[in-house]
């Protein structure tokens, strides 16, 4: 059980490419931190620097207050689960899990105890004598987790552990990782490119792009108050609609005017704008698809548009629409809210009016791409 602290960590490859710039993060004991970002953003590299599999070009990594920069992976007391599981193909499941314990010269009785115990928890007791190639993807995944589990190490590292599984299995394993975490109660660092995994698993999420940290925060924080356009678009699916428009301030009131409509800003958002003393300016207005509603009739605050594609997702509909100037937007409508007559009217080419409330808008500066409500 330990804290992990990264201070000014940089990774510069031999070809002078910088993969990670000045990474600072303080991970508390027993915290579950998720690094998330598109591929090539440096999240895996950062994790591998913590593990000792990559050299640290600059800065320090501390585990439990001890600088581990010069320590070999084996001396860092960490456990790791790899994306492709990295099971030793020539060993049985039992030997795979026992490998690290045998290297520690633990007595065989104790090893037996630990391995069967872990296998019990993961439900792989029946497969202990099999070789990895005779296992399914999900089972291999469990073995990989079991191998990391028996080590009782200070930090548990997971590098995209679910990305090789199919969608259904992924959901199931995700839930199991949450359970596992409650059982192990240790520090986790988890790397993924999937924002759903990040949101559901993490106590805190670190969103990265091009080697920089874009935002660190709890799932709620990054969802409700994305620091910039990148985070806003990355978190949430389908992704946030982005509308270039103008923010107008008159006295203490703000209005936005997307596609000719006039929408007032109210609630917390208005207060935050006032707090930051934001004046009139060109902005990019962000609205999540689930926050857009269908208006009953055209009005000053509604935007007319044409339906292009209607995706039926079961509990909800994803409506792909385009406005009069051709901008494409996505609207997410719960199926329950619609009468069957309304639903049958939602065919390609249908004319719709959409609107959204002033409470759910996100305002990003057109130039700096930063959220105007974050007060920076």
């Amino acid at each position: 059980m330990a804290s992990v602290k990264l201070t000014g960590v940089k990774k510069i490859y031999d070809n002078k490419v910088t993969a990670v710039h000045d990474f600072n993060l303080d991970i508390k004991d027993k915290e579950f931190v998720v690094f998330v970002g598109p591929s090539g953003c440096g999240k895996s590299t950062t994790l591998r620097m913590v593990a000792g599999l990559e050299d640290i070009s600059e800065g320090t990594v501390e585990i439990d207050g001890e600088v581990v920069n010069d320590l070999q992976p084996k001396d860092r007391d960490i456990a790791m689960v790899f994306q492709n599981y990295a099971l030793y193909p020539h060993m049985t499941v039992y030997d795979n899990i026992a490998f690290s314990l045998r290297l520690k010269k633990m007595p065989e009785d104790e090893i037996y105890e630990k391995v069967t115990n872990a296998a019990e928890i993961l439900g792989i007791t029946d497969y202990l004598t099999r070789k990895p190639r005779a296992l399914s993807g999900g089972q291999r995944q469990r073995v990989a987790i079991g191998r990391a589990m028996v080590r009782n190490s200070k930090v548990f590292l997971m590098d995209e552990p679910l990305s090789n599984l199919d969608a259904k299995l992924r959901n199931q394993m995700r839930a199991e990782i949450i359970l596992l975490r409650q059982k192990l109660n240790t520090t986790f660092i988890y790397v993924t490119h999937d924002q759903t995994e990040a949101m559901t698993l993490g106590d805190r999420i670190v969103i990265m792009q091009d080697g920089y940290i874009e935002q660190v925060g709890t799932p709620t924080e990054v969802f409700e108050m994305p620091r910039n356009i990148f985070v806003a678009e990355f978190i949430g699916a389908p992704k946030m609609n982005m509308i270039p428009t103008k923010l107008t301030r008159s006295g203490d009131n703000y209005t936005v005017s997307p596609f000719g409509a006039r929408l007032p800003v109210d609630g917390e958002k208005r207060e935050l704008l006032l707090e930051g003393d934001v004046g009139s300016r060109e902005i990019i207005l962000g609205v999540r698809p689930e926050h857009i509603v269908l208006a009953d009739s055209a009005s000053e605050s509604s935007i007319p548009c044409t339906l292009e594609v209607n995706e039926m997702m079961g509990s909800e509909l994803h409506l792909h629409v385009y406005t009069e100037d051709g901008t494409r937007l996505i609207v997410r409508v719960p199926t329950l809210n619609l009468s069957s007559a309304q639903r049958s009217g939602l065919v390609a080419g249908a004319r719709l009016n959409i609107t959204f409330s002033g409470k759910v808008m996100h305002f990003f500066d057109a130039e700096s791409k930063l959220n105007l409500c974050c007060g920076e």
């Binding site: 456990a79 790791m80 193909p89 490998f99 290297l103 191998r147």
Partner: protein
């Protein structure tokens, strides 16, 4: 093979017929190839049993059969040559495999300074005709007393010492073993040496066998260098050098069938070994060629 063509069901004649014709053509081709490829070896075998004379002749089937040639082999230095070659092959295959594996594992798994430069330099070194270096190697070995009658240790030394250059195929093999296995093992608490011993080597059986096999086979065929080092001393010759002498202009009339008998005795163990381990050899050459 003809059975196959006759038995084909008689539906969809067009497609089937054309396939049958082309398959028959291929069978004929393969049969011809097989015969052509085997003829020389069958000839050697047959001639090794020819006892009516010992010269090269214009016919294949012996007029009188016998094992005189094989018996005569034991009155020559052939057993000594055979033993020499066998010792060289055995020792150098073990040591060479060790060296090649060290070299290729280091080049495949470690990213140290100068690694690329090292590989490029070895590529360039490989372009020099190795034959040239024989002159000096002979003199050096002579100074060490490892030539002529004592050629066996000398040959082993030279084969083994320069075998680091043959890292290419096995490095290609190591490259295909996922690096994450090493990493997982290192996180699990293994040193680099333990990674090699417990993870990589158990997974490398095919390439180890390939390396041993090629290293074992090459001394049987090495001619130039062995000839240079033994310098005419019969006690230091290997089979290739010794038997080459039998086909000299002044010896061929007496020793031609002897050569055939010796050839058979040399070919049998190597071929049997090779056929048993064929699978690994094929894996090795294929991998090596694709990696380039």
């Amino acid at each position: 093979m003809s059975e196959n063509t006759v038995m084909a069901p008689k539906k969809h004649m067009g497609l089937k017929t054309s396939r049958r014709i082309s398959n028959t053509a291929i069978y004929v081709l393969l049969a011809v190839i097989s015969v052509v490829w085997l003829i020389p070896f069958i000839c050697i075998l047959l001639q090794s049993f020819r006892v009516e004379n010992t010269m090269p002749v214009g016919y294949v089937i012996p007029k009188r059969w016998g094992i005189d040639n094989y018996l005569r082999l034991f009155q020559t230095d052939f057993p000594k040559w055979y033993l020499n070659t066998f010792i060289i092959a055995l020792v150098s295959s073990v040591l060479q495999t060790f060296i090649v594996l060290c070299m290729s594992y280091a080049l495949s798994r470690f990213r140290f300074k100068g690694r690329k430069l090292l590989m490029r330099l070895m590529l360039i070194l490989g372009m020099f005709p190795g034959m040239l270096t024989m002159i000096i190697l002979y003199r050096v070995l002579a100074d060490l007393g490892m030539t002529q009658a004592n050629a066996v240790p000398g040959l082993i030394l030279v084969y083994v010492a320069s075998s680091g250059m043959l890292y290419y195929v096995s490095k290609g093999f190591f490259d295909t073993i996922p690096k994450s296995l090493d990493e997982a093992a290192r996180v699990d608490g293994a040193t680099r040496f333990q990674v090699l011993k417990k993870i990589i080597l158990p997974l490398s059986k095919p390439i180890v066998i390939y390396t041993v096999l090629t290293a074992f086979m090459s001394p049987w065929g090495d001619f130039v260098f062995a000839q240079y080092v033994s310098m005419g001393a019969s006690a230091g010759k290997n089979v290739a050098v010794g038997m080459y002498g039998w086909l000299n202009k002044d010896q061929i009339a007496n020793n031609y069938t002897l050569f055939c008998a010796g050839g058979v005795l040399v070919a049998i163990p190597v071929t049997v070994l090779f056929l048993c381990l064929q699978k690994y050899y094929v894996e090795g050459v294929t991998g090596g060629a694709v990696k380039g």
